[in-house]
Amino acid sequence: MSRKARVLVTRTAGTNCNVETTFAFEQCGALVDEVHLERLFSGKVKLSDYHILALPGGFSYGDDIASGRIFANELRLKLGEDIAKFIKDGKLMIGICNGFQILVKAGILPGPFVASKTLQQTATLFHNDSGKFEDRWTHLKSLGKCVWTKGMKDVVYFPVAHGEGKFIPATPSVLKDLQNKGQVVFRYCRADGVKSEYPGNPNGSTDEIAGITDTTGRILGLMPHPERHFLKIQHPFWTRLPKKGKLGDGAQVFQNGVDYVKKNLL
């Protein structure tokens, strides 16, 4: 029996996209454990036993104070060394929605991450310009250099569901770096790939940025939900589309992660 990619899906008070994230990885042939943070902190479960760390969406700790903030601090302060080693070992991470907010607010994205007691945040995800939580489908232009989006179609269609998804880089040079180093992975756009304003860009993100990777291309963070378009039948107007194929645009993200592990880490 060939060995399987092992995925750790984190869970804590308020995590709520864990089930569909697990489903997506399992469908791609991975072995997935949903692990409560307390079990990681107490050492009952070891991060080093896994190839992929997935931070699913939700409202960790109610997004009280700010989205993802408390979770990000826990990760940085209680697991900082383990995370640094995990990245150094060439392993993969993905943060979706609240998971992306956590990665950014822990300083893991845009990176490079350094385990440290003081926070170094170079970008943020802030209140949508609309001031509201919104659930809507968005077209995304796929670009950049990232393991997770390899071979992806030019434009994909994923839903967003958030109130704090406006990407803001701390300085113009942070933005320039992201652009120059191929770290911008998804941009909100129209169906034809052309730049879009609200509601196409649902939150007012700088440079329409919806997802970024670190300099290694192995850590992906994005506000839209690929796991909600894993199956074709999750498409909002599947009843209008030709009836062939079972998978949706999001499936490739998870398959890419699992394939990378098989090829490079097993």
Partner: protein, 969 residues
């Protein structure tokens, strides 16, 4: 030490919250405000130094990229205070009101390694730029910035630097309080009920007096409270279960009927008559349970949270959602919540301020608050809100209606539960505070302008994350078999939950073992508090250790309160002193049966007589932009309707994702074929003419929506929610009886059993001696099983060249229609349901969809054919023709407007591809159907009148704009 931290956005960073507040102020008719800035305030108390505060700010409280902060340990002069052209208002929570941010912040501070912080409080400071009079500022404060039931404006900023102890502020009594009951006169009994907010009537007070007289002792305060909670209309449903003398006055004749237990003789009777094998558990648990597939059942519950939402819309709706989710969590041994539904009734958003009854909030404010409350709880729990409706009528002004529903998935065999003698009484989840005292009894009385003062304790704020934590572990504990029964703590708090679970066995509880939010609650308050997010379980003693281990492993507190005794008594202790010893049988069965008078006299409405307007284009736009018809997108987008990944037919369909779907379809087990369809039927305007046909039409609407997406008529279960005025008034009760009869008859005719239901009475508002009752309102919620979700159909037109059929006959039934309401009329000919005809329509539709012959399908409801077809067109971004002359019609009036806007039941508009027409027509057989139009490439709709004249031509984008606009605020 006490530190005050202020956080605001860096310059150049957009502040949407301030922008939102400015909007709200604009809504109040105050236009002089140029800018609003919101500053977040944290007040941190503890033995910490400046460096610690700096760390807390920069690492936890502040977004380093977007925000800046200042802090101080002494009052600092605010540069904006008393500055010309600037107004400063700071709003903080009242003492004892739940503020979820406090707990999270304390945790966040501990994570930073700072352990000496003892308390955190939060506030919001608003810097309002613009010239305002004192009166205007007062209006802004009260109507836009805060709700004084839970918040206050801070007048003295220095006050935050003084230590506040909840313990001191909220001191409670500890000695046993005996209530003098024996020997009281009738007048005394009534006075006691009123003063104690017991809401018990004289007959009930007498029964209680007799009970204690027989024992030769006075009751304790907690005994009396327990009886009041248990016997409240809210918990005991006295109206529905009691006797009713029902008189009908029709055509000069009077007929009287004695009804013993209205619920059993209508709603429940229908279910037992139908006796469906797939009904697993009906009426007796927190939610009704039906079979889903070979491994799972599904359960569904809908209830109301009207009274709390009237006073504090956010908190009321918030805890309404939280409560109904706990209902499914507490069904059987616990179900996993998989979707929410919500239906609201408000007065119109442009209701004039000067007409508002004293003490009521403006409908727009109510609506915004309710929507935010539902959004907050549903989204944070990770439960998709997939279906709903919003109705508008001016008589909801004092009593908005908020219906919250939840569906759960539960493994087969887990639907049964029973506490056993010797099991431990365990409470998990939130701590108990003073919130929600008297919620159950308060909702069993009418609201008045004093309600906001008297009943402020009944208002609660939820903490969804607490409930999420509970639900995560509860299901693990269920699967390990660690408890024998579970129920939620809802109205009546522990009193109801423990009382109910122990009603057969008897129970002993130590009230001092209940975890408290703050000290100082007395034992009665602990017992009846309706603090949120709590569940009560019975745990066999040998399993308590493992039970604690897994709950505490995910930071859930477990408290063992006592045992189920087997003595048949309710015994409460407080620090070892017995404070209550009641006979369970008296408590649950001792309510005196009452007989209420009900009267139904047919209202004298007239069918209006006006000429049919020439072109109907303007009328169509008027109907499309009616609040009852227009798009609810601005609301629905704020709910996560896709979390958990299972939504297959979403609330919005079509290429632009904005067409209004009929029922929603959900696939609870990802990757499997089987699904559920969820819908609702509600139309209060019909009830103004005849509640019987309102109920029948609501059932028809809910059922036809499920059929329209591809549901199976033989597997649809329904739920009733009655919201009525004061049932002690015979005319109100007469309407209720008629509606209940309509429910029975249609449920039996359609083969759709009721599996659960709820009622809410006293939805009346008294102002200046005048009582405004809501229109008696019934909501029917339906759940249907869908064999194969990949065969589902949506309502957006698909392809030019396809034919549009109508299935079902149209009658002269404009009574209660939106069309007549645009003339300010109600009419007389309310849509009836012809169940035999309807069943044929449904079955033919089901077959046609199952055979894959239907490209799109939409049910006709508010606005009739005219609206339904326009919606299909703009949802599909395609044009369409309509030939009114071809519509199967029976009636005398024969007018363009009548056929276009009649709201006759049981009809569908169906799109069929040319190659499928033959097969489709074969299936339709002798059903009333006809081709009435064609799908066009062109972006216009063309409606041809009875004289084959073009009575309406309109661009679909214009129609869509008209339909989308009204509620976008």
């Amino acid at each position: 030490m006490i530190w005050r931290v202020e956080i605001q956005e860096k310059s150049g960073i957009f502040d949407p919250l301030g922008e939102g507040v400015m909007h709200d102020i604009g809504d109040l008719g105050i236009s002089s405000v140029k800018h609003v800035r919101v500053i977040n305030v944290f007040v941190i108390e503890g033995e910490i130094m400046k460096a610690d505060v700096d760390t807390i700010c920069s690492e936890l409280l502040v977004d380093q990229v977007a925000q800046t902060y200042t802090f101080s340990d002494h009052p600092v002069k605010d540069p904006y205070k008393n500055k010309k052209g600037f107004n400063v208002v700071e709003v903080a929570y009242n003492i004892g009101v739940m503020d979820p941010v406090e707990a999270s912040t304390l945790k966040g501070i501990r994570d930073l390694g700072i352990s000496r912080v003892t308390s955190v409080r939060t506030a919001k400071r608003f810097i309002i730029e613009g010239k305002l009079s004192d009166k205007e500022l007062e209006v802004i404060k009260e109507k836009a910035l805060m709700n004084k039931l839970i918040q206050h404006a801070v007048s003295d900023e220095a006050a935050v630097f003084r230590h506040v102890s909840l313990d001191r502020e909220l001191r409670g009594k500890t000695e046993v309080a005996i209530v003098k009951l024996l020997g009281l006169s009738d007048k005394g009994l009534i006075e006691l009920s009123r003063k104690g907010q017991l809401y018990l009537n004289l007959n009930e007070m007498r029964t209680i007096q007799k009970h204690f007289a027989a024992q030769k002792r006075e009751p304790t305060d907690v005994e009396l409270e327990t009886i009041a909670q248990t016997w409240s209309e809210h918990c005991n449903h006295k109206t529905f279960r009691g006797n009713i003398r029902y008189t009908v006055k029709e055509n000069g004749k009077t007929k009287t009927e004695e009804i013993k237990n209205l619920l059993k003789s209508t709603i429940v009777k229908a279910t037992y008559t139908l006796d469906k094998p797939w009904c697993v558990s009906v009426f007796h648990d927190n939610a009704g349970v039906i079979s889903f597939d070979d491994k799972y059942n599904v359960c569904f519950k809908v209830e109301t949270h009207n009274h709390p939402s009237a006073l504090e819309p956010f908190g009321g709706a918030n805890t309404g959602v939280g409560g109904v989710i706990r209902d499914t969590l507490g069904t059987g041994l616990g179900a996993k919540p998989i979707c929410n539904t919500d239906v609201f009734c408000f007065a119109q958003p442009e209701y004039p301020f000067e007409k508002l009854p004293a003490g009521t909030l403006h409908p727009k404010r109510v609506m915004k608050g309710v929507v935010s409350g539902v959004r907050d709880y549903g989204n944070k729990m990770g439960i998709p809100t997939v279906n709903g409706a919003i109705c508008f009528h001016e008589h909801y002004v004092g009593n908005p209606l908020v219906f919250c529903g939840n569906v759960g998935l539960i493994p087969k065999g887990m639907e049964k539960k029973a506490a056993c003698k010797g099991d431990l009484v365990v409470v998990i989840g939130g701590k108990t505070g003073r919130d929600g005292i008297h919620g159950a009894t308060f909702s069993s009385g009418e609201l008045t302008h004093e309600s906001e003062v008297v009943s402020s304790g009944a208002v609660q704020i939820g903490n969804p994350i607490e409930e999420k934590k509970v639900s995560d572990v509860l299901l693990q504990a269920r699967d390990e078999g660690l408890f024998s029964a579970v129920t939620d703590c809802g109205a009546g708090g522990l009193s109801s939950a423990v009382g109910e679970m122990g009603s057969q066995l008897g129970v002993r509880v130590d009230l001092d073992a209940v975890p408290l939010k703050y000290q100082g609650l007395n034992y009665t308050e602990i017992w009846i508090s309706e603090s949120q997010e709590r569940m009560v379980l019975s745990v066999p003693p040998e399993k308590i250790e493992r039970f604690k281990e897994i709950f505490e492993g995910e930071n859930n507190e477990v408290a063992v309160l006592g045992t189920y005794t087997g003595t048949g008594r309710l015994e409460l202790f407080y620090h070892g002193v017995k404070v209550c010893d009641l006979d369970m049988n008296f408590l649950h069965e001792g309510t005196p049966k009452i007989t209420k008078e009900a009267l139904w006299a047919t209202p004298k409405h007239k069918e209006p007589n006006f000429a049919c307007p020439d072109g109907l284009g303007d009328k169509l736009k008027e109907v499309l932009s009616d609040y009852n018809v227009c798009s609810k997108e601005a609301v629905v987008r704020r709910y996560d309707h896709e979390v958990q990944g299972g939504s297959i037919v979403k609330p919005f369909v079509g290429p632009a994702c904005d067409g209004p779907s009929d029922a929603s379809v959900l696939c609870p087990r990802l990757g499997k074929k089987k699904g559920i369809a969820i819908s609702n039927g509600i139309n209060p305007r019909f009830g103004l003419i005849d509640p019987y046909w309102m109920a029948a039409s609501a059932i028809d609407e809910a059922v036809r929506q499920i059929i329209s997406v591809g549901g199976d008529l033989s597997k649809i279960a329904i739920l009733d929610n009655f919201c009525w005025g004061n049932p002690d008034k015979p005319d109100r009760l007469g309407g209720l009886v008629r509606a209940a009869k309509g429910c029975h008859d249609l449920a039996v005719a359609y083969g759709t059993p009721f599996i659960s239901g709820k009622d809410s009475f006293y939805n009346e508002y008294t102002d200046k001696g005048k009582s405004i009752a809501i229109p008696g309102t019934i909501l029917i919620s339906a759940i249907g099983i869908v064999e194969d979700v990949s065969k589902c159909v949506t309502m957006d037109l698909k392809k030019p060249g396809n034919s549009v059929y109508i299935v079902g006959k149209t009658y002269d039934e404009l009574g209660g229609s939106v069309y007549l309401s645009t003339y300010g009329l109600i009419g007389k000919d309310v849509p009836v349901v012809r169940s035999k005809e309807a069943m044929k329509n449904f079955m033919a539709m089901q077959k046609a969809i199952g055979c894959g012959l239907v490209a799109s399908s939409h049910d006709c409801s508010e606005g009739g054919i005219g609206v339904a077809l326009a919606e299909m067109a703009f949802a599909g971004d395609l044009g369409v023709t309509l030939i009114l002359k071809s519509v199967p019609y029976e009636g005398k009036r024969y007018r363009d407007d009548g056929i276009m806007f009649s709201e006759s039941n049981s009809r569908f508009l169906v799109e069929v591809a040319p190659e499928d027409q033959k097969a489709f027509e074969r299936i339709m057989g002798d059903v009333s159907y006809a081709i009435i139009g064609k799908v066009l490439e062109d972006k216009n709709v063309y409606y041809y009148g009875l004289k084959e004249n073009l009575c309406l031509k309109a661009n679909i984008h214009e129609l869509k704009e008209t339909w989308k606009k009204p509620l976008q605020f």
